[in-house]
């Protein structure tokens, strides 16, 4: 990573806020503004295509919020959050953001953030992806999952997720007949899902309980669950015990 030349992307849905960052950056010839984005989709596209090493990221935006953008683009670049909401500061810290600029801020405060970003660019980066998903407030479960497919972004509302299957370093998320691959471990996905709605039935499978129509014996000691679209998923022995307990509790 070259320390002299920095490529920055500005993400904010308000023109005036972008203008302000442009103005503050104009005194720094070593920083090139590669793109300006007005929403989460644009941000993911721009970062994937342009690979900047510095991103100024708003949190409350149309389509994807700042944390969802971060989950999709990874943290192997310097991220500076820029927002009027102070309640996300701890989460920002958890995802190893370089700084957290609270609107409104002055030029000095901005310079401090830039200095920190430059220091980070000279150093090392923490491992991506898992960090972003671990930064959710513990009491809240995922409402939707965002998946990147090249420069495109898919949003899967939790209610439309049928099941998830582990595939090496990825999970395949099956929703409405389509499979979306996401780089995440199945355990971290399991932790982020509401345990009242999703159940780990097997080392490699998490199922949406609403989709389960029946449990059938497969062989001696082995079972499969049948989903309402006909899909059959294997159930491990401990998964079967959990499933039975869950279904009894529900009825």
């Amino acid at each position: 990573m070259t320390a002299e030349r920095i490529r920055a992307v500005i993400v904010d849905d308000e023109e005036l806020a972008r203008q302000m960052l442009r103005e503050f950056l104009s005194t720094h010839p070593e920083i090139e503004i590669a793109a300006e984005c007005a929403n989460g989709f644009e941000a993911v596209k721009a970062v994937t295509e342009l690979e900047p090493n510095l991103v100024f990221l708003d949190i409350q935006m149309p389509k994807l919020n700042g944390f969802e953008v971060l989950e999709l683009i990874g943290t192997d670049r310097a991220i500076v959050f820029v927002t009027a909401y102070d309640e996300f500061a701890i989460r920002a810290f958890d995802v190893h953001a370089v700084d957290y600029l609270l609107k409104p801020f002055n030029a000095e405060r901005f310079e401090t953030a830039l200095l920190r970003a430059k220091q980070r660019l000279g150093g090392t980066f923490p491992a991506p992806v898992e960090l972003a998903s671990s930064a959710r407030p513990p009491a809240e479960f995922l409402e939707r999952i965002v998946v990147r497919d090249g420069t495109r972004v898919h949003i899967i509302p939790i209610a439309r997720l049928d099941y998830a299957e582990a595939q090496d370093d990825y999970v395949a998320l099956c929703s409405e007949g389509r499979k979306h691959l996401k780089q995440q471990t199945i355990s971290s996905l399991e932790a982020a899902l509401d345990p009242g709605r999703f159940l780990r039935i097997h080392r490699s499978y998490i199922v949406n309980l609403e989709r389960v129509t029946k449990i059938e014996p497969y062989s001696k000691d082995n079972y499969v669950v049948v989903l309402n679209n006909g899909t059959q998923l294997p159930v491990s022995r401990s998964g079967y015990a959990r499933l039975r307990a869950m279904l009894e509790q529900r009825s």
């Binding site: 302000m20 609107k103 409104p104």
Partner: protein, 357 residues
């Protein structure tokens, strides 16, 4: 039920208070011409035990004739009659026991004849004990009333404080302020004139909020002016993304309504609707009159996939409570979601101002 029965400890203490009565009666009725100590004991223990509970019955007439509202004569008559009757009944009971006891234990033979001269004593004691019990119950009632009044006062204070806090919080969303200040800050370097303009817009809005927020009711025209000021500020921030359509009929602007009832609706429409749309959208505000009610509707486009679209509940609940408190069943609020359109409809009675004190 009698309050003493609610706690066994209190009942125990009450019964303990009867021990001196038993001792006194034994002492009075014991003598060479009277009863032996054993006889007096066997007689007074059951007698007092029964009467202890009879006296508790004073609770009911005491509650029925409160000291504050009942006439003195009525009080005197009620309780003295009861005392005289119960006292007489008590001494009659003593006689019954004195006749019954020798059947159980021949040693007590002739006890009823020797008791005869104490009937008057027993009657007077019975009357006095009942009168004491009435006094005791009035004290108990007074104490209970005081405690209830205290609890009610505390509850009312908590409710008032709660309402105050809610009203304050409903007034201005701090994030609106921060974003607004940030816009001003951005404008200062490049468009100084616009920055000054926005400062003034913000000042006008804050002043109007403070002035109107303290009133019981304001007119729809005043609320609309406040909303226009608010929208002018948001327009600077959101630019072309925020579009507004207004269709307010002239015969509705005199409607009296609680202040800042509609502004939070507009704020929600922006925060959970327009702000989540990359291309922005339209907010439609309309008011029309039908007979003696005014229907106000706020309609906005939103992104059905945005999780924030569902989080409007709290602000609306606040509005619902305020409406309910003020108008009861005369006001209605309804929410409709159709595709990417969100509609809030308020129906307010036109003549509410006269119903108020």
């Amino acid at each position: 039920m009698h309050p003493l029965f609610a706690r066994p400890r209190n009942l125990g203490l009450y019964l303990l208070a009867w021990v001196p009565v038993v001792l006194m009666l034994i002492h009075s009725m014991h003598g060479p011409e009277g009863l032996t100590r054993l006889e007096a004991l066997a007689l007074t223990v059951p007698l007092c035990l029964v009467y202890a509970f009879v006296c508790l019955a004073a609770w009911y007439p005491c509650r029925a004739t409160p000291l504050e509202t009942s006439g003195f004569l009525k009080l005197l008559l009620t309780h003295l009659t009861a005392a005289a009757v119960l006292g007489a009944y008590w001494s009659y009971q003593a006689k019954e026991i004195a006749i019954a006891l020798p059947h159980l234990w021949p040693r007590f033979a002739g006890m009823d004849q020797r008791l005869a001269k104490y009937y008057a004593l027993l009657w007077i004691t019975g009357v006095l004990l009942y009168v004491m019990s009435v006094t005791f119950h009035y004290v108990l009632l007074a104490e209970q009333n005081a405690r209830e009044a205290q609890a009610r006062a505390l509850e009312a204070r908590v409710l008032a404080r709660d309402a105050e806090l809610k009203a304050l919080r409903a007034q201005v969303n701090p994030h609106f302020l921060f974003n607004c200040l940030h816009s001003i800050s951005a404008l200062t370097a490049t468009h100084a004139g616009k920055a000054r303009e926005m400062c003034i817009l913000l000042a006008d809005f804050l002043r109007a909020t403070l002035r109107l927020g303290g009133k019981e009711t304001i007119t729809l025209a005043e609320e609309l002016a406040l909303i226009r000021g608010y929208l002018a500020i948001e327009k600077v921030r959101l630019g072309a993304r925020l579009r507004m359509e207004e269709d307010v009929k002239n015969d509705t602007t005199g409607l009296q309504l609680p202040p800042l009832l509609l502004q939070p609706l507009i704020e929600n429409a922006i925060r959970h609707g327009i702000a989540n749309l990359p291309e922005g959208g339209v907010i439609r505000l309309s008011a029309e009159r039908n007979h003696d009610a005014v229907t106000i509707s706020v309609e906005n486009s939103f992104d059905p996939e945005s999780p924030s679209a569902l989080k409007t509940g709290l602000g609306l609940e606040n509005i619902r409570q305020r409406l309910n408190k003020r108008y009861g069943r005369d006001a209605q609020i309804s929410l409709v979601t159709e595709g990417d359109c969100f509609l809030v409809k308020l129906q307010l009675p036109l003549r509410s101002a006269e119903a108020e004190i």
